[in-house]
């Protein structure tokens, strides 16, 4: 038979992965733009899910020679209904496009200006947070829940099967067999020699006594042999294992404080924008650093530490006393995150409104107990209004702590992502 049927269903899939990666790499810039747009437009909940990305078709055309519109085109079409030879009719709007030739048919059939395709969630985040990093990550600390690497440390009697040291185990088995069987083996050798001598020196036929003697020798040799054979070739206590010990590795530990104003002056819109900022931050941290803790503080006249869920989704209102939050942040640092062990980052979002009398206190807390301890503190002020009290205060601080303090103004949602990128752009490691 000339046909041969093969089942290829189990062959490797994703043959196109390389080509796909090349495409993503080539259009990195456009995809990144598309991702930024998507981040600005998306709802908070599906911020991180993979999605269809669309980039303009003209950017990724593969040019070839083709005919442009114009000149004389003659085309045969199917499906004539009422035309007769000699009919003339007006050219449809759009010039010579009327009777699309072979070459154009596929183009106009699609009727889309964008090339749309899917990327996965991981890829989406990759594009989203590319080139971003927490600045000033420098303090390395040993601690109990640090990462470990394993180091060889000789031989042990116990261990898991995958760590068996075969050479050592067999060597020990060999030694045991010699130790346990030595005496018997020696006796057997003597008996064998005796037997051989007997056979050599005694002429046949054997007398009854001689026969008995020979038989006794043979039986004794057989008994010894079976005893020797019963010695196990390898026994459990022969096993030797490679011993590996855990070696703690220093790794950077960081904590991120998210501070948000939820006071009455914060409109729902501003809150949404702030949420967006923190959410981005949260995604970013979750992704970039496995070992990072996040503390959520929200405040009006009083500050409370809340869970992530509460932070983003519950609503409260009241007046504004920023210092309450800063004070709480300072306390939490003192209690739980000693600065000598932790890299501390702060991010604050507010509409800039603050109780006038609170300004001095804010200043004091920032200068004395927060800014000296943090690696980086970023502040965004949200809203269309002119810069508020807090902004003025922080601008002064900025001059004082320029290496670790950043602030930015955000008018609406669409500005969040660019600002975010600006604040967390990967920088050269600075020695503080």
């Amino acid at each position: 038979m000339s046909s041969y049927i093969v089942d290829r269903r189990l062959n490797s899939k994703n043959k196109s992965t390389v080509n796909r990666q090349r495409f993503l790499k080539r259009y990195r810039k456009q995809i990144k733009e598309a991702v930024s747009d998507a981040v600005n437009k998306r709802k908070l909940e599906d911020m991180e899910s993979g999605d269809s990305i669309s980039i303009p078709k003209k950017d990724l055309s593969e040019p070839v020679f083709s005919h442009g519109p114009g000149g004389k085109r003659s085309i045969v079409h199917p499906g004539n209904k009422e035309f007769v030879a000699g009919d003339k009719f007006k050219r449809p709007e759009g010039g010579g496009q009327g009777g699309a030739g072979e070459g154009q048919a596929s183009d106009s059939g699609e009727g889309e200006d964008d090339f749309v395709f899917q990327i996965s969630q991981a890829e989406f985040l990759e594009f989203m947070f590319e080139d971003l990093a927490l600045p000033n990550m420098i303090k390395m600390q040993l601690s109990s829940d640090d990462e470990f690497n394993y180091k060889r440390a000789g031989i042990s009697e116990v261990g898991s099967p995958n760590q068996i040291n075969i050479v050592r185990s067999l060597r020990s088995a060999h030694a045991r067999r010699i130790a346990l069987g030595g005496k018997k083996r020696k006796l057997r050798r003597i008996l064998r020699e005796e037997l051989a001598e007997f056979i050599e020196t005694t002429p046949k036929p054997y007398s009854e006594k001689q026969k008995k003697h020979k038989l006794a020798l043979e039986e004794e040799i057989a008994a010894l042999t079976s005893k020797l054979n019963a010695l196990p070739y390898i026994d459990e206590f022969d096993l030797k294992f490679n011993l590996r010990v855990k070696n703690p590795q220093p790794s950077p530990k960081a904590v991120m404080f998210c501070v948000m104003d939820v006071s009455g002056s914060m409109t729902q819109e501003i809150k949404d924008t702030a949420k967006r900022f923190f959410y981005l931050l949260y995604l970013f941290l979750q992704r970039s650093y496995k070992k990072i803790e996040v503390v959520f503080i929200r405040h009006h006249t009083q500050a409370t530490e809340v869970s992530e869920e509460d932070f983003f989704y519950s609503r409260e209102t009241g007046g504004t006393v920023v210092s309450s939050a800063l004070e709480l942040m300072g306390d939490i640092i003192k209690d739980r995150y000693p600065p000598e062990q932790w890299n501390i980052y702060g991010a604050q979002a507010s509409d800039g409104d603050n109780w006038q009398n609170d300004q001095a206190k804010c200043n004091e807390i920032m200068v004395n107990s927060i800014l000296p301890m943090v690696q980086y503190f970023s502040y965004i002020e949200i809203g269309q209004q002119e810069p508020q009290e807090l902004w003025r205060l922080y601008t002064r601080l900025k001059a004082q702590f320029s290496d670790r303090f950043a602030l930015s103004k955000v008018r609406d949602n669409s500005e969040i992502f660019p600002v975010f990128r600006e604040l967390f752009k990967r920088q050269r490691v600075q020695k503080a």
Binding site: M1, S2, S3, Y4, I5, V6, D7, R9, N11, K13, N14, K15, S16, V18, N19, R20, R22, F23, L24, K25, L60, S61, E62, P63, V64, F65, S66, H67, G68, G70, G71, K72, R73, S74, I75, V76, H77, P78, G79, N80, K81, F83, V84, A85, G86, D87, K88, F89, K90, R91, G95, G98, G99, G101, G103, S106, F115, V116, F117, Q118
Partner: protein
């Protein structure tokens, strides 16, 4: 060669004819009362290969055996051996994305095709091709796991016997491709390009491939018979070529001054002496700045483009031939009682949507469906042979009333789309399709209907339609005209305009690609019928 039905509705398969729903009933009956079932079978005197629509490898083999028997013994289809591969839909997308080849070198554009295929497929905007078949020996055909048994049988008849015999028999394929060696050649190409990427960096190779791809359609000598692609020879000669080419090129670009009278004699001689239409070949052999590995890559793209060249010229014939044979062979199976009513109904449902031809004013219209036109013409040739009318005798005195099988085989072997339509498009097909001929001339205010399907129009329409499938009419005619050998090495190309049609908006981009390959300035003149330069593109 992809076989993709135009806007094939998913329901084409899902919506099954009524006879089918009765079938499970019969099977249950058979299980419960085997004797009764036997009696029933005897009375219909049917000998179905299968009654289930689920395929198994044994069933595929059985169908293949029967189809092969009919194709070879009854209809004299001569084929390469078949290698039928069953794959999953995602593998089909992979195959789709790399121009249907099982192995191909890596390039971002294939990634792009993959992404758009994936998107369209997942959004349900498009059904995947039922099959992909590769012009090679053995002829590789892919069957998709998800297809029903009926569809698998259709694909086997269509691809493994239809396309396969076309690949083996048609003169263009015989001339331009070497089915034995193509898979090896693709392997060689993939390995070579991977090696280049390792040595010279992915980006460098990618830039080069981009430029070559832009000229892919200009890598063929239309009127010269090429040496068939052979992989051993390629590998053997590749090394020699490296030395030889460089020598030759150095000769061409010799900068040592020569005696004066020799110079003036040369001035009048153009290089190349005659315009060259194979731009990639010209660049491979003559570009001054290319490194030897780059020449090899240009050559690879050129050879692959040569491999696809016959397919671009025989779309209507190839698809028409394959469709005609799946239709004829499966009906033969039915007539022999090997397949059930349900089978043939399901088959007809999808066959009908494959050969659907939307009218020009339909939203689904995207040109003439090659399956429809090809199938109609093949069917009509058979009709003209078997039941000729007076009109047929007038139009086709050579074969009207003749042996249909021989006439069809002859058409398949010796024609391409253009000549096939010119020779075989009958008034009946023109009438059935309601073909009409439009003239859209930008010198005239209106669009004119030149001809319709009537006695005065048949010839005009046939001539025009044939012209439409002429590659040199469809694609701009661009040739290497001159190189300024003595001076600044500018390469001049001429676009010989046809019906005053100008070049498209991408032109300047392509010219930039040519410059990239050539290494020096490139000019492209659009020359009108009077020999006057209408437009110049320069880079």
């Amino acid at each position: 060669m992809k076989h993709k039905p135009p806007q094939m509705p998913a329901s084409g398969v899902a919506e099954r004819p009524k006879t089918k729903t009765q079938r499970p009933h019969r099977r249950i009956l058979g299980k419960q009362a085997p004797e009764e079932n036997k009696i029933q079978k005897k009375t219909v005197r049917r000998n179905y290969i299968s009654t289930s629509n689920e395929w198994t490898f044994e069933l595929l083999e059985k169908y293949d055996r029967e189809i092969s028997r009919i194709a070879k013994d009854k209809f004299k289809l001569d084929t390469y051996p078949n290698q039928i591969e069953v794959i999953r839909s995602d593998q089909m997308m992979d195959a789709y994305a790399s121009v249907g080849m099982p192995i191909n070198y890596n390039h971002w554009s294939y990634g792009k095709h993959f992404l758009s295929t994936e998107q369209a497929y997942q959004r349900g905007r498009m059904g995947l091709a039922y099959e992909i078949v590769i012009n090679s020996s053995p002829c590789i055909a892919y069957l998709m796991e998800e297809n029903t048994l009926t569809m698998q049988a259709l694909v086997i008849a269509h691809a493994c016997y239809g396309h396969n015999s076309f690949f083996k028999g048609n003169y263009l394929f015989r001339t331009w491709t070497d089915a034995e060696a193509i898979i090896d050649y693709f392997l060689f190409a993939k390995a070579y390009i991977a090696k280049c990427e390792e040595r010279h960096g992915v980006e460098e190779v990618e830039r080069l491939l981009d430029s070559c791809h832009a000229l892919m359609n200009y890598g063929v000598d239309r009127y010269k018979r090429p040496a068939p692609i052979s992989v051993e020879e390629e590998q053997q000669r590749q090394k020699d070529r490296e030395h030889y080419i460089q020598q030759h090129i150095n000769d061409l670009w010799r900068t040592v001054p020569e005696s004066k009278d020799k110079k003036s004699a040369q001035k009048k001689k153009r290089f190349p002496e005659d315009p060259q239409e194979n731009i990639l070949y010209f660049i491979e052999k003559n570009a001054p700045m290319l490194k030897t590995w780059q020449r090899e890559v240009v050559r690879i793209v050129r050879k692959i483009s040569q491999y696809f060249y016959p397919q671009r010229q025989t779309q209507v014939m190839n698809e028409g031939w394959a469709t005609f044979w799946h239709y004829t062979i499966l009906h033969e199976l039915y007539d022999e009682g090997l397949v059930s009513d349900g089978f043939i109904m399901e088959f007809l449902a999808s066959h009908t949507s494959v050969i659907a031809q939307p009218a020009f004013d339909s939203p689904y219209y995207s040109g003439i469906n090659p399956y429809a036109l090809g199938f109609a013409m093949m069917q009509d040739i058979r009709r003209i042979c078997e039941n000729p009318t007076e009109e047929d005798h007038r139009w086709f005195p050579d074969f009207a009333g003749g042996d249909w099988l021989e006439t069809l085989h002859n058409a398949m072997r010796n024609y391409r789309d253009e000549s096939f339509i010119q020779q075989f498009l009958s008034p009946k097909v023109i009438r059935d399709f309601h073909l009409f001929y439009l003239d859209d001339d930008d010198h005239i205010e209106t669009i004119n209907v030149e001809a319709i399907h009537n006695e005065q129009g048949y010839h005009l329409i046939r001539k025009q339609l044939a012209q439409q499938y002429n590659l040199s009419h469809r694609e701009p005619d661009i040739q290497v005209f001159d190189v300024n050998v003595q001076g600044d090495r500018t390469l001049t190309l001429h676009h010989f305009m046809n019906n005053r049609r100008p070049l498209g908006p991408d032109t300047i981009e392509v010219v930039k690609h040519i410059r990239q390959l050539w290494g020096y300035d490139v000019k492209l003149h659009s020359v009108d019928e009077q020999g006057k330069v209408a437009t110049t593109y320069a880079s």
